[in-house]
């Protein structure tokens, strides 16, 4: 019979690597209900047991979503065995979580990872004795090298059958006393509760969630207050939370003293040497920028663009032509050509061509994350990013935004803190993405001659300035509460496991492919319909007479104060919602000059003035990104409300800034 295992451990202890080793590709990734914390369920290759990969956490406190999810999952789903993975090179802090997990009262198997590093350091562990003290099977492994992993499933199965509860930690007298008194207090009503020791310890810590959950009556609460008062009185500088943490760490010290013999002749680790260079006062920022540049060059430069070219060839010249020929030989009506070739192959294909870049980007990001560099990048950039209310880790998604908003928003997943993640997602679209460049190129070329380069560059700067101003304002208003601080582990540098990187990248790509196949596909068809049918449901080839054309006419007066009240401009902006590349091509079609950018540049001065051209460029820079980006925002925000807020913010700012610039610029230009 298959069992249910829950994988628990600190961040950076090799938890994901172990999960991948156990389950291979048989994983399901989703979100925990209501929050954007990854929920991963997998099935072991041997035995088909269910494994839930719980979020990487340091404790079971009630202050972070990840920690609450973990403890609630264990208490409610009652996994047969908790598989607690700890980093053997950092066992002291890792065991802090273990003690709390043990108090939950479920069978525990302790997997001590990084056996290879422990041996390289020359540290000696008495595994048997550690297991005897903790009351749990202890298995040393190296998840990366595969050492001892074969033994893991049998060990887990045995633990699930034996159903042995782990031993309870033995704390100092004062703590033991207080715990005992609370147990007596609770035992009347909660005697059947297997997590009672966990609840007792959490009540000492003053955990408000547990207090609420147990719904103690007034007399019980009063008694609890008295117990805590007596407990706190036993220590000079103690308060309940610090005293409890201290008790846990003291117990861990006694366990380690009995079971671990550290090699006294410790060499300086490789990590320390790398850090001396990488986070060096002078070199840190140049190295960081160089790494970012390389990542950018790989993703959006030659390699990415070449593969993208192949995909474009595949869609337009192979599939497109093939479908075209098939339709011709089937004598299909004219509108099917437009729907299948222009809209579906063109539209969905136009989004799918970003797949190579997304793949490359996530290969790079996973590598940086798993190698330990991402934490250093956050460390280096934190002061700078904090000025606009963000944390160091936001820098990378924001920078990615200059390439493409879609993967940039997805990259915000690397931020643990929900507030930082939301703010990053709100600000990222202001980074001018690659698809907007053709718009600037055409307009700046047509109106600003020699100044074109400066005008285009100033668009990028303007986007940055708007993001900084917005960040600053949001920090002072909506996002004021930031008590999470910036307390972050700097894990040792490690060579990431290839399998983990590939699986992580594949997950991201799969999400993108599903999105392209569903939302983007249906939106493309809807927009095609609006573009090719008139209000009387007649098929039209001139989109000026289509529904979208009518919408454009309806919308045009709104943009008149911004200097571009022509319906063609409004329709172009509407089609720009599908993809920003569509703005220029739509304009070409509407002004009857076709796709060629050159001929569009020739006709634009007849309909735009330099001031309105500038205003139009700014609007394109700032207004809502394409559908692909909006769906990513929706997915990562995990909230319709926030998505609407994001769209509203962008439209509002785009309108205001364009209006201001136009009204001022027309006095001078």
């Amino acid at each position: 019979m298959p069992f249910k295992f829950a994988l628990v451990g600190n961040p950076n202890c090799g938890k994901t690597t172990l999960f991948n080793e156990l389950t291979g590709s048989k994983q399901y990734v989703g979100n925990w209900p209501g929050v954007t914390v990854d929920k991963k369920i997998g099935y072991t290759r041997e035995g088909g047991h269910e494994v839930a990969d719980l979020p990487g956490i340091y404790s079971l406190s009630p202050y972070s979503m990840e920690e609450i999810i973990t403890r609630d999952y264990i208490i409610q789903s009652k996994p047969d065995v908790i598989l607690n993975i700890v980093d053997g090179t950092n066992i002291e802090r890792n065991l802090y979580l273990t003690l709390q997990v043990m108090e939950l009262g479920r069978p525990v198997v302790l997997v001590v990872n990084m056996l290879d590093e422990i041996e390289a350091r020359g540290d000696k562990f008495d595994w048997e004795r550690m297991g005897a003290i903790l009351g749990a099977q202890v298995l040393p492994v190296s998840a990366r090298k595969g050492t001892n992993l074969k033994k893991l499933i049998p060990v887990l199965e045995r633990a699930a059958k034996e159903k042995r509860k782990p031993n309870l930690p033995v704390y100092d007298h004062a703590t033991q006393n207080a715990l005992h008194e609370i147990l007596v207090l609770l035992s009347g009503r909660f005697s059947q509760e297997e997590s009672i020791h966990f609840y007792a310890a959490k009540l000492i810590e003053g955990d408000s969630h547990v207090l609420k959950k147990l719904s103690l009556n007034d007399a019980e609460r009063k008694e609890l207050t008295a117990i805590i008062a007596r407990y706190e009185a036993t220590a000079k500088l103690g308060d309940r939370e610090t005293m409890m943490a201290d008790a846990r760490y003291k117990y861990i010290s006694t366990v380690i003293a009995k079971t671990v013999e550290r090699n006294p002749a410790r060499k300086r680790s490789v990590s320390e040497y790398i850090d001396m260079v990488v986070t060096n006062r002078v070199l840190a920022i140049p190295i960081f920028l160089l790494i970012i540049f390389c990542m950018f060059a790989l993703t959006f430069g030659t390699v990415g663009a070449t593969i993208q070219g192949w995909l474009e060839y595949l869609f337009n010249d192979l599939i497109g032509v093939w479908v075209h020929d098939a339709l011709v030989s089937a004598n299909a009506p004219q509108w099917t050509f437009s729907l299948l070739i222009d809209a579906i192959i063109g539209g969905v294909g136009g989004v799918l061509v970003f797949l190579p870049q997304i793949t490359l980007l996530f290969l790079c990001l996973s590598f940086l994350e798993d190698s330990g560099y991402m934490a250093r990048a956050a460390f280096i950039m934190d002061t700078f990013m904090r000025k606009i209310g963000l944390s160091g880790k936001s820098f990378i998604p924001m920078l990615m935004g200059f390439g493409c908003t879609t993967p940039a928003v997805m990259a915000a997943r690397t931020l643990e803190n929900e507030r930082d993640r939301r703010l990053t997602i709100l600000l990222t679209p202001f980074m001018s993405c690659g698809a907007r460049l053709p718009i600037y190129a055409v307009f700046a070329g047509a109106f600003f001659g020699k100044m074109a380069g400066i005008v285009i560059f100033s668009m990028y700067v303007l986007g940055l300035v708007i993001a900084i101003v917005c960040g600053f304002v949001l920090k002072k208003t909506l996002f004021r509460d930031n008590n999470a601080g910036f307390i972050m582990e700097l894990p040792p540098y490690r060579l990431p496991s290839m399998q983990t990187i590939l699986i992580h990248t594949w997950e991201k790509c799969k999400g993108f492919l599903i999105k392209a196949g569903t939302i983007i596909f249906s939106m493309t068809v809807v927009i095609w319909f609006l573009q090719h049918f008139s209000l009387t449901m007649q098929y039209v080839t001139d989109s000026g007479q289509s529904i979208i054309g009518s919408l454009g006419r309806l919308l045009a007066p709104v943009f008149a104060p911004l200097g571009f009240g022509q319906w063609e401009a409004s329709v172009s902006l509407l089609t720009g919602l599908v993809a920003k590349e569509a703005v220029v091509s739509t304009m070409g079609i509407l002004y009857g000059v076709g796709d060629a950018a050159g001929s569009l540049s020739a006709i634009l001065p007849q309909v735009f003035t330099p001031a309105s051209a500038l205003s139009f460029m700014i609007f394109c820079l700032l207004y809502t990104p394409c559908i692909s980006a909006i769906t990513s925002i929706r997915r990562e925000m995990n909230s319709g409300k926030w998505t609407m807020a994001s769209i509203g913010l962008q439209l509002g700012i785009a309108y205001t800034v364009s209006l201001t610039v136009y009204q001022i610029a027309r006095l001078f230009l």
Binding site: S59, Y63, T89, N90, E241, T242, D382, F486, I487
Partner: protein, 75 residues
Amino acid sequence: MTKRLKDLGKNKTGIVTAINCSGASKRRLIDMGITPGVEVKVVRVAPLGDPIQISLRGYELSLRRSDAKDILVEI
């Protein structure tokens, strides 16, 4: 002599004596092992002067000066 951790200075070591903040940030600090009696060493300061990197219980932790100001150390 008692100092705030933020003023400890690079490559200096101290013993934590008190954590004078509350709520989530205090919880996070003590969960990460910053409890009275633990030895901490300031390893590095970020290029822009903040945050700082400290070493304790055999691992490396970074925290902002605003978090470190509430931690008292004895040297």
